[in-house]
Amino acid sequence: MTDSLFQIGAEGIDTARIVGEIQKSVEEKIRDGIYPDPEIARAERHNLKNLQTQDAFMDYYMNCLRQAAYVDINAFEIREQRNLFAPVLIALKKVIWKLLVFYTYRLWSQQNQVNGLLVAAVDGMDRKNVRKIQELEARVAALESAKDMNRS
C-alpha cells in the first residue's frame, strides 16, 4: 500500500475507493506470489463465506492447500542458539530426536498420505463440479437458442 491511495489532510476519505485499490493490489500480489504461504490457507479456514462466493479465491485456496498438505518430515540440522553448553544441548536434542523419530516418522508419513489424498479428492470433486456446471450451462444455452429459433 502506498500513500498515493489517499491524501493525508484531504477533506474526507473515500473508503470505497481505498478498498477497491487494496483489492486490486492484493490480486496483483497474489499473482506475484507474495501470498503463497500455506499459512494463508490456515487463516482462511473459518472464512467460509469467501470460499462459497469467490471462484478465484477458491482456486487460490486450493493452491494453498496443495502446498500445505505435504509437510517435510525428514531429518534436519539440529542447532543451538545459546553458546553456553551448546555442544551438550545439541547432543541431547539429537538423542531426543532419534528416540522420537522411531515413532513419529511413520505417524507423520501416514498423515502426509491422508492430507494428500484429501486434497486430491477435494480438488477432483471441484474440477468435476466445474465441468458439470459448464456442460449444463452449454446445454441450457443451446436449448434457449433452439427455443428462440422455433419462435422466430
Binding site: 489517499f6 493525508i8 478498498v19 492484493v26 497474489i30 490456515r42 472464512n47 462466493t53
Partner: protein, 392 residues
C-alpha cells in the same frame, strides 16, 4: 397518526447491566427512550440470563427500571430440547424441514406461557417484539397482530427462509429496522411494503473518553486491535484470532488483541500470550479500550446493526469489518469510518495501512465519529422511533 401511549416491549432477555446480547440491549434502550418520552412502557421478558441454557436464573416478578415496568416471566421448562436442537441443526445446515417440523421448532423454542397470557389479557397500544428467531416473539406479536411491531434484527440466514417466518412477516403491520440493508433484505425475502417499515437503529449518548487510559492502566506499549461482543463461531471470532495470529507471524509486528464480552476464545496457542481478555467491562472501560485501539475488528457476517462499531466510531477508532456483512459494509461506506476485507490478504494490507499511518487512522476515526453524532444521536433516533410507533 395516533399516539401509542401504552407500549409493551417483548424480548427474551433483560439485564440491567447491559451484559446480554446486542438485540436485547437494543430493545431495552428503545423501551427506556419511549418511557423517558412519557409513554407507559412495560418491558416483558423472561427470567433467563444465559442464552445457551435458558434456565430461569432470576425470580419472576415486576419491578421498575428507569421509568418503565419490567415484568419477568419464567421460560417454559417442558420443551423438547432434543427435538428442537435436531430441527435447528438441520435448518442451519440448509436441510429440508416439513411444515410440521417448522412448527415443532417454534413450539420447542424459547417460550413463556405466562408472558403470552399476559399479552393476551392486556390492552397495549403497541407490542414491540424482537428478535424474530424466538417462539416468544412470534407468539407475542400474533397475540394481537394489529398492534404488532417487529424489530426483526434480521440476517441473511437459513431461519429467515422458513415458511413459518413468511407467515409472521405477512401479518405484521409495522417493522423497525436497524439499518437500510436490513430493510432491503426483508423486502427481498418477504416483499414488505416500504410504508410498513422504518429504519430506526439505536442512539448513543455523547461522552468524554480518555483515549490513553486503557494503555496506561494495562501498561501497554504496543498497538492493539479490539473486538467487543460474544466470542463464538457465529460471530467469526475464530477467524479473527486466526487472522491476527497469521498477521503477527507474517509481518513480525507485536500487535495485541483485546477482547471484551462473554464466551470462550478459540485461539491458536501461539496467539494466546498476546490476547488480553477483559471479560465483562464497564461502559467506561469499554469506551476507553476502544479509544486506545489501532482498529476495531468485526469479523461477523450476521449483523443487523452492530452497535459496537458505532461505539468504536464514537470513541474515534476506525473499524475493519468483513465485506460479507452487508450492514457493516454499508455503515462503513456511509460513514467513511472503516474498511472492509474479503480475505486474509486484504485484512493484512488494511491493518498494515492503519498501523503505519496514524493520521489516516485518525481521519477514518473522525469520519466515523461525525457519522455517529449525525445519525445516531438520541434525539434523531427518538424521533424516528416515536414516529414509527405512532404510525397506524
Amino acid at each position: 397518526m395516533s399516539r401509542a401511549d401504552r407500549i409493551a416491549f417483548v424480548c427474551p432477555r433483560f439485564d440491567d447491566r447491559g451484559t446480554v446480547g446486542g438485540a436485547e440491549n437494543l430493545l431495552k434502550e428503545l423501551a427506556l427512550r419511549a418511557a423517558s418520552n412519557g409513554r407507559d412502557v412495560h418491558f416483558l421478558t423472561t427470567c433467563a440470563v444465559n442464552h445457551f441454557t435458558w434456565e430461569n436464573e432470576k425470580p419472576a416478578g415486576v419491578r421498575d427500571v428507569g421509568g418503565m415496568t419490567v415484568h419477568e416471566f419464567e421460560v417454559d421448562e417442558d420443551r423438547d430440547l432434543e427435538r428442537f436442537l435436531d430441527i435447528q441443526d438441520r435448518i442451519s445446515h440448509g436441510g429440508e424441514v416439513s411444515d410440521e417440523e417448522e412448527q415443532a421448532w417454534l413450539d420447542n423454542n424459547v417460550n413463556s406461557r405466562g408472558l403470552i397470557d399476559h399479552v393476551r389479557e392486556s390492552a397495549y397500544d403497541r407490542i414491540v417484539a424482537g428478535p424474530y428467531l424466538f417462539g416468544l416473539t412470534w407468539r407475542a406479536l400474533l397475540a394481537h397482530p394489529d398492534t404488532a411491531c417487529l424489530v426483526p434484527c434480521l440476517h441473511d440466514e437459513a431461519f429467515s427462509r422458513l415458511r413459518i417466518m413468511r407467515r409472521l412477516f405477512a401479518q405484521i403491520p409495522r417493522f423497525l429496522f436497524n439499518a437500510e440493508p436490513e430493510r432491503q433484505l426483508a423486502d427481498r425475502l418477504f416483499d414488505i411494503s416500504a410504508a410498513h417499515c422504518a429504519v430506526v437503529g439505536v442512539g448513543l449518548d455523547s461522552k468524554e473518553i480518555d483515549s490513553d487510559a486503557f494503555m496506561r492502566a494495562h501498561g501497554l506499549r504496543t498497538p492493539y486491535a479490539i473486538y467487543v461482543g460474544r466470542r463464538e463461531p457465529l460471530k467469526g471470532t475464530p477467524m479473527l484470532t486466526d487472522y491476527v495470529d497469521t498477521f503477527r507471524r507474517r509481518t513480525g509486528r507485536d500487535l495485541k488483541l483485546v477482547f471484551a464480552g462473554s464466551g470462550e476464545i478459540e485461539t491458536p496457542t501461539s496467539l494466546r500470550p498476546h490476547i488480553i481478555d477483559l471479560g465483562f467491562v464497564s461502559d467506561r472501560e469499554k469506551s476507553e479500550a476502544m479509544a486506545g485501539a489501532a482498529a476495531f475488528i468485526h469479523p461477523s457476517v450476521n449483523e443487523s446493526l452492530s452497535i459496537v462499531i458505532l461505539e468504536a466510531w464514537q470513541a474515534g477508532t476506525p473499524c475493519l469489518v468483513t465485506a460479507f456483512s452487508d450492514v457493516m459494509r454499508y455503515q462503513c461506506e456511509q460513514s467513511g469510518g472503516g474498511l472492509w476485507f474479503r480475505s486474509y490478504p486484504e485484512f493484512e494490507e488494511q491493518l498494515t495501512l492503519l498501523l503505519d499511518h496514524p493520521e489516516f487512522r485518525a481521519m477514518l476515526g473522525n469520519q466515523g465519529k461525525a457519522f455517529v453524532e449525525r445519525e445516531y444521536n438520541w434525539s434523531v433516533v427518538e424521533q424516528r422511533l416515536l414516529s414509527a410507533l405512532d404510525k397506524r
